[in-house]
Symmetry: C2
Subunit: 207 residues, 2 copies
Amino acid sequence: MKYHRIPNETVRRLPIYLRGLVVLSQQGVNNVSSSKLADFVNINAGQIRKDFSFVGDFGTRGVGYDIDWLTKQIKKILRLDAEHRAAVIGVGNLGTAVMAYPGFRTYGFEIAAAFDSDPAKVGKKVKNVTVEDVSKLNSLAKRGVDMAIIAVPAEAAQNVADALVQAGIKGILNFSPKRITVPKNVKVITIDIATDLARLPYYIPSS
Amino acid sequence: MKYHRIPNETVRRLPIYLRGLVVLSQQGVNNVSSSKLADFVNINAGQIRKDFSFVGDFGTRGVGYDIDWLTKQIKKILRLDAEHRAAVIGVGNLGTAVMAYPGFRTYGFEIAAAFDSDPAKVGKKVKNVTVEDVSKLNSLAKRGVDMAIIAVPAEAAQNVADALVQAGIKGILNFSPKRITVPKNVKVITIDIATDLARLPYYIPSS
């Protein structure tokens, strides 16, 4: 089932709520008010209530939201109720850092494959995954990998994206600052570190 | 001058518009409609018009937005009309990748310093910056550095944040998935790769 009417901006925030709810649950908390969660995830309470109404949870006055139920519901909507396998393309500094990233388990992600074009890297193990040659990308879909993380230099990004599309990958996380073009049935999310850094000065008081 | 009434969500999108406007300008374009920019930056046109109204630009019917004027205005609001110097703390895979990141120049950022606690790294040059010992963090503010990028392991993040606050840094980009606590006058933006990856399955059609 797909919940078509959830705005993209809400979808962007759902994983943030989910991570907060998981941490609260680990602390033994069963219910949370929108204002407590607001402090915890740094998103305002009104926005949280609005977002949760899309999820189908309107909370209970004086009790708040049931963390267990809400966690399950968000996972279902985001399709995180199943495990997902991802491949990293480009095992340079960035790709290696991504493979070492400790935060994926929270969402049930496994980095199941890694690829590079450098013969010196192919065959080596990085975080328990053996690096394969990029020419082997076409085997991905058969291996149950449905997402790929592009961590290659900007000039190689489009070629890699084309190969991933060819291989049947439908979801791409792109770290290259270059725009990549894919067919409409493939989703690309671009992470641009500079864009995140660029809103920091706004909040820095001038001295 | 600070424009207090711009919502955080709009501030988050302004750098994305800015980057789009810079690229369009480089292509020789002078004016852009909200719908053309919408295609370009992948944010809907209504949202763009609303965001630009906060910037003080309501566009001209049939002409669109003046790219030059809008670029200057957004830079001014985001305080990107001056150069900013940033320090990277932690020169592992992630820190090195950040230092090599090509997208910072668009916003006038310079990675001016790098720090690590590993004696084997101190004194080495990474992307033309000599790595210094973390004990030297206290010199940062005097050197005109006003932003820091934390790329250390999760367990070291809070200590580094404390030292940065002590050194007078008012803006921090945090790559560690761990929450860090800072005084109210310091702004932290956290980049969690897993959170971005977590919204990808929502958009992947089930097979």
